[in-house]
């Protein structure tokens, strides 16, 4: 799995990969991440996409903490993406 920095992908390929990586071990995450991807991904800036990509690399329990608003990512960009996911939920 190449990281975004090493190999910026074409938008379609990136979206396809992230769509699969929105498949998680918890239903709550599936719902929030997949509906975000469907509704808002295409309108994200390159930086926001990068932040979303990095966010998906976190373990499920950490993602849940973020998406339930019990923890906030240190990275500003990522924190903004989390907020967008939460608002879309």
């Amino acid at each position: 799995m190449a990281t975004f920095e090493q190999n910026p992908e074409a938008s379609d390929a990136q979206r396809a990969r992230l769509a699969w990586q929105c498949r998680r071990g918890m239903k709550e995450l599936d719902l929030l991440l997949q509906s975000f991807l469907d509704a808002l991904f295409d309108g994200l800036s390159q930086n926001e996409r990068r932040a979303f990509d990095l966010l998906l690399r976190y373990p499920d329990p950490v993602l849940l903490e973020y998406l339930m608003g019990r923890m906030v990512p240190v990275d500003r960009e990522m924190a903004d993406v989390v907020l967008k996911i939460r608002r879309n939920g």
Partner: protein
């Protein structure tokens, strides 16, 4: 290790493990430590397997909080199973439990502790002291992250033991030779869309449950019963599929679990008249009665027109009478979930809930060593050579007609380890891989190629939606002959419609649509299995409730169902009522 073969890359291992949840990883670890070469294939990154969702904990009679021993645990499990569980396997599991919890602790699982340093244990439904006496506290938990902690530790241990991981690879079909030996599987690399042959002397299915059969469920989207579907296509039956556990309190229409904790803290259920209806169904235990009892009560309220909302299709879980402090301190997770998914703050307003599909008791028939076993010519069950199964995709059967909370994490660890040992034994006797004939691979490739067909047709999503609604409506908490028969006709119609489904996206890279099509095939075959088995079983036992046959009927139905895909044939096999060393627990009425 990889070399071209029919233009398809091929890898060879001693063992192929399909599934990287707790069951698959525990088995892989046992094998890797015994110096077998092991490949683990998982459609998602291993630590994203559904085991990560288990928060409650894992049962073992450690007796750290209440007096306890494995024999009481065994009794509770047999009774909980409504006597459909196999008592040899249940004894084996309950005896192994304490040792395996300690072993997990040594692997790094941070179990919560008591002040005296021992592992903390919480009380769960269905746990008793002294064969049905006072409540026991038997569930070991690592805070509310037990599943995650187990999965994470097992993954680390496997990396150390040099298990070979194929992450984001989708297993399509088992490869069998003419004599019925399982030779490995055809898998698809999701990133590239390229097929790959993984050849192995032994193959273990550990693909988890099939919660996606029902519209409202607690399961991750990946729980599509792929291993069971693969087994069915390979001519292997699935066992006891009519037994599906519904958790009483899922967020209505969405399915997310509102755990028993909410009712444990004083929450209760009300109907549209504001009546606390559980008092009518379970005067003693009320809202804390066992899962199947509460699920049936909620479904009855809705059926009889006392449901809430415009469509009257849910009841309410009331917490707003509790001190807000209690909700914020003791039920923060539930509050967050309700606010996010039901858009309700339980401090102010009750949460709409309805029973939600939660756990697959049925699965691929195995013995207590994880060997897949199938009756041969009306005779006793015999192992399918080279094939093993563990975890929620398997039916050992330790859960029988109804699983107890906390017994599933135990199941995957106990039988994952046992299967690893059995496979090691088999590997000792089988030095060579059996020849992989081209025709074995062609069959699986043909299956895959079906999805290359182009043109107009129904979409995967639409048909999956129809299937899930059909299952919920015709084969849900309550079942009755004519509705099930209608449901079977509908599911068979969906099976026919599946032939006309076409993909619009034929790209190769991370083509989620193609994977979802393959998953839908598995779901459909399991829906047919479930409804057929449910229609045939004319009794009520555990999670299978027939309005037209309200009682358990041990004379006719104390037996396991086997469903074969070919001809939708049903067969039955006896329940093992004889434990390994102790006396049998004979069937008794199941009252709590």
């Amino acid at each position: 290790m990889s070399h071209a073969n029919y233009g398809i890359a091929k890898h060879r291992f001693d063992t192929l493990v399909i599934g990287a949840g707790g069951g698959g990883l525990r088995a892989a670890l046992q094998l890797a430590q015994a110096e077998a070469t092991v490949a683990v294939v998982s459609k998602v990154f291993p630590t994203r397997s559904h085991t990560v969702a288990a928060q409650g904990g894992m049962n073992a009679a450690l007796a750290n909080v209440s007096p306890d021993n494995w024999h009481w645990h065994m009794y509770d499990t047999v009774k909980g199973s409504d006597y459909l569980g196999d008592q040899d396997a249940i004894e084996y599991m309950c005896r192994a439990a304490s040792r395996l919890v300690i072993e997990l602790e040594h692997m790094g699982v941070p179990f919560s502790r008591l002040d005296n340093g021992k592992i903390y244990q919480r009380p769960f439904g269905g746990q008793s002291q002294n064969f049905g006496g006072a409540q026991a506290a038997r569930t070991c938990a690592a805070a509310d992250r037990t599943g995650h902690a187990i999965l994470h530790s097992l993954y680390q241990q496997n990396i150390r033991a040099k298990t070979h991981f194929f992450d984001e690879f989708f297993a399509v079909d088992l490869l069998l030779d003419d004599e019925g030996y399982v030779l490995g599987a055809l898998v698809l690399e999701i990133e590239t869309g390229e097929p790959l042959i993984i050849e192995a002397k032994t193959t273990l299915l550990a693909t988890g449950g099939v919660g996606q059969l029902f519209r409202t469920n607690t399961n991750a989207a990946i729980n599509t019963g792929d291993g069971m579907g693969m087994a069915l296509r390979a001519g292997i039956p699935v066992q006891d599929m009519e037994f599906f556990q519904f958790h009483p309190t899922g967020i209505a229409g969405k399915g997310m679990l509102m755990s028993e904790g909410a009712r444990g803290e004083g929450g209760y259920l009300i109907n549209k008249d504001g009546e606390r209806f559980m008092e009518r169904y379970a005067p003693q235990a009320k809202d804390l009665a066992s899962r199947d009892v509460v699920s049936r009560a909620i479904a009855t309220e809705v059926r009889e027109g006392r449901g809430c909302g415009e469509k009257g299709d849910y009841v309410l879980l009331k917490l707003d009478h509790l001190d807000p402090e209690v909700i914020m301190k003791r039920l923060p997770g539930i509050r967050d979930m309700a606010m996010t998914f039901a858009h309700v703050d339980p401090i102010d307003k009750p949460i709409p809930v309805f029973p939600t599909a939660h756990y697959t008791m049925g699965g691929i028939p195995t013995d207590r060593f994880g060997q897949v076993v199938v009756p041969v010519n009306q005779g006793a069950a015999e192992p399918v050579p080279g094939l093993y199964a563990v975890g929620e995709c398997a039916c050992v059967s330790v859960h029988g007609a109804n699983r107890l909370g906390g017994n599933s994490l135990l199941d995957i660890v106990v039988f994952g380890r046992a299967a690893g040992n059995k496979i090691t034994e088999y590997l000792g006797e089988s030095r060579y891989h059996r020849p992989m004939g081209r025709q074995y691979v062609d069959k699986a490739l043909g299956h895959l190629a079906r999805w290359d067909k182009r043109g107009k047709g129904e979409s995967v999503g639409a048909l999956r939606d129809a299937l899930q609604r059909t299952m919920e409506h015709y084969c849900g908490v309550f079942r009755i002959e004519n509705v099930l028969a209608e449901g079977l006709a509908k599911v068979l119609e969906i099976e026919k419609r599946l032939e006309d489904v076409r993909l619009q996206d034929h790209s190769k890279i991370f083509n989620t649509a193609r994977i979802e099509a393959l998953e839908l095939e598995n779901l459909v075959s399991l829906a047919v299995a479930t409804v057929t088995s449910a229609l045939a079983r004319q009794e009520s036992r555990g999670a299978h409730t027939r309005i037209d046959y309200p009682d358990r009927d041990d004379e006719r139905w104390l037996k396991h169902t086997l469903f074969y895909r070919e001809g939708r044939r049903l067969d039955y096999k006896p329940v093992t009522t004889k434990p390994l060393t102790v006396d049998s627990f004979p069937p008794k009425p199941r009252v709590y």
